[in-house]
Symmetry: C2
Subunit: 434 residues, 2 copies
Amino acid sequence: MARRLDIHEREFEAHFRTLLSLKRESAPDVRDTVATILADVKANGDAALAAYTRRFDRFDVETNGLAITSAELDAAVEAVDADTLAALRVAASRIRAYHERQRPAGFSFTDEAGIHLGERWTAVDAAGLYVPGGLASYPSSVLMNAIPAAVAGVGRVVMVVPTPEGVTNPLVLAAAREAGVTEIYRVGGAQAVAALAFGTATIAPVDKIVGPGNAFVAEAKRQVFGTVGIDSIAGPSEILVVADNRNDPAWIAADLLSQAEHDTAAQSILITDDAAFADAVAAAVEAHLATLPRAAIARESWETNGAIITVESFDAALPLIDRIAAEHLELAIKGAEAFAARVRHAGAIFIGRLTPEAIGDYIAGPNHVLPTSRTARFSSGLSVYDFMKRTTFVQMNDEGLRAIGPSAVKLAEAEGLGAHALSVAIRLPEKQGG
Amino acid sequence: MARRLDIHEREFEAHFRTLLSLKRESAPDVRDTVATILADVKANGDAALAAYTRRFDRFDVETNGLAITSAELDAAVEAVDADTLAALRVAASRIRAYHERQRPAGFSFTDEAGIHLGERWTAVDAAGLYVPGGLASYPSSVLMNAIPAAVAGVGRVVMVVPTPEGVTNPLVLAAAREAGVTEIYRVGGAQAVAALAFGTATIAPVDKIVGPGNAFVAEAKRQVFGTVGIDSIAGPSEILVVADNRNDPAWIAADLLSQAEHDTAAQSILITDDAAFADAVAAAVEAHLATLPRAAIARESWETNGAIITVESFDAALPLIDRIAAEHLELAIKGAEAFAARVRHAGAIFIGRLTPEAIGDYIAGPNHVLPTSRTARFSSGLSVYDFMKRTTFVQMNDEGLRAIGPSAVKLAEAEGLGAHALSVAIRLPEKQGG
């Protein structure tokens, strides 16, 4: 059973704080190991990649080739059954359509002094996408990470994926093709991140690295940040379901379990205004767990990190919702749409009884890479913006310089920056302020 | 003299690479010291702030008060001379007008299956602004960091500033008032960052911390990242001036020195198509250095990190410009506007002979907090977006669920995620795919 909290308990605030501060992740300290691998790849390039891949993935890239060829990609796509491939294409096309709406326009204007100002967005030259091998290898994740890059207009979208014993996941490769990935290499771990950041003879360096990975990959991303851009380091997944008693408890239980089954460190929370409904959901969770393939993981997550919170009204829940700042927020209540507009902090909101969170994981369109661990208070899901950057511009003329130049000189002098003042004053017609 | 490179030299590529990889910054390892300070403030709150402030700033906040009061702010504004205050207000109003154009609109739409999708932007609840004390205390920096937060709609804009021996900079306080800062505390260093991130009895925690600082402040921001958002850690300032021989060499020399005077680690580079003009600029730099107040710093920067690159044409310079990816790019050439449109990587572009970079430091309108050390390849200047975050949303109906639900079920099954599949299938009218 997940823990139960009631907003009317005397100790509620303390229990709620405990829930918020549950330390669900235990990251091993792999800093030094990762630093060594990065330095090795930086110095020795492809040879280092081959050595690490032999050691960690028991695979010889020197004889088999580091790159996955176009022919191998074709073969992988052939190996996927038609229905799954069709579903993948529906997903890719919906994700693309959504992300195309994100493409920023920039702006420019000329102010009353005749000064022309603005900003424009351009894509990064090359993006790297880390894809985990083995069990955590999700084709949906390839779509969600690569499509925004392609939509942004990134020229090179480079995927790295470990292939332990040479095994690849055909659906992951099919997803890479659908998503517009332009290069794929059979390498994983910190060594793959190093190759993307520093480049090797085979893998040209990229400017931005995204995608999920284990502790080594996360630490490698942290260490190369600055040389390249990175996405945020994702924590375990979370869902907050807000539901009234007019839902089928089995539906809500399935939603809670859809996060819980990801990882024992995942967190599922239900907020409801009806204690009897809470009981019914708890019972439905147990019933589902009897049949689900990943029941062991889901049960551990639910029992360790899960919670059911009862409130007297959803208005009273609103501050709790903002404090939780959930990665995924599902609103299965009356007036869900209006209520959603009042929520300030959440990565993604799933509105209404017919919008299970899983629809967003795969196919709705918005990105499923979302801020975890309460970081939705200050950060956002992955987007087209993450693969672009802004350049601002200013173009002055005589009139503009006369209008605002003297103020710039004044401020530069107040800050004691003589060359700043000089560079403006020297251009003023009457050398005012110079 | 700064180094000279010519694109026709045989060794040009090697010399250019050396220039790009100049390690201008030597950050001391302050990781452990900072970790200790953060833990202390987290555990002991205001008492720890008082102890560190006594030790590092020789100032007693327990008797003098941690907060700078509204009356003290009034007195500071009174102390600023009228002309400087007027210049500050021109700057604030122009910066505000520019940043108001950044306020993102978000979007929503209903697709052909009747599915409602979109995203909206909301401000963070509270932002913290670090302002260095002493020499590096720049009022322009207060405007550039605080105004975007205020424009974003951030409710609490909290400034921290060390006041060694109790000394404050009246112009910094006046800038805080103009910029819409809502709270100011006399505390600096890692301890101030800790207070902003974790909160104390006096200082409520914020969600995002921005602003420049020394190595301790930068490391503290790195360590609290995740608990709060942070801006990027700025490196030493840079300018790349691209100029033809129709400029007054003295103007261009002043522009190069306006970055060089910031810091001995700053970098100023000139690209020109005329070797004689290059000589004239180099001579003008020497002439200016004879009179400038910060000549010693500027000279060291120019001689250690500066460069003049001669090219046969500005078209040939374009790839170099993108590889340098300068924080500030000044285009003092014929056809500068059209040329600017071809540049892919730069933090900010100053177009034309009458647009010295310093005009952007103070008064033009765009932000002066810009990506340094070639990070303009993947990152952008500070903006309103940095104080906001996006929440995506989806609202399904029966028709939409029937249209795309089965594809979601298929993909969830292909990924082996049974509860994901169940949460969608259970809502499908005929339980397809369930």
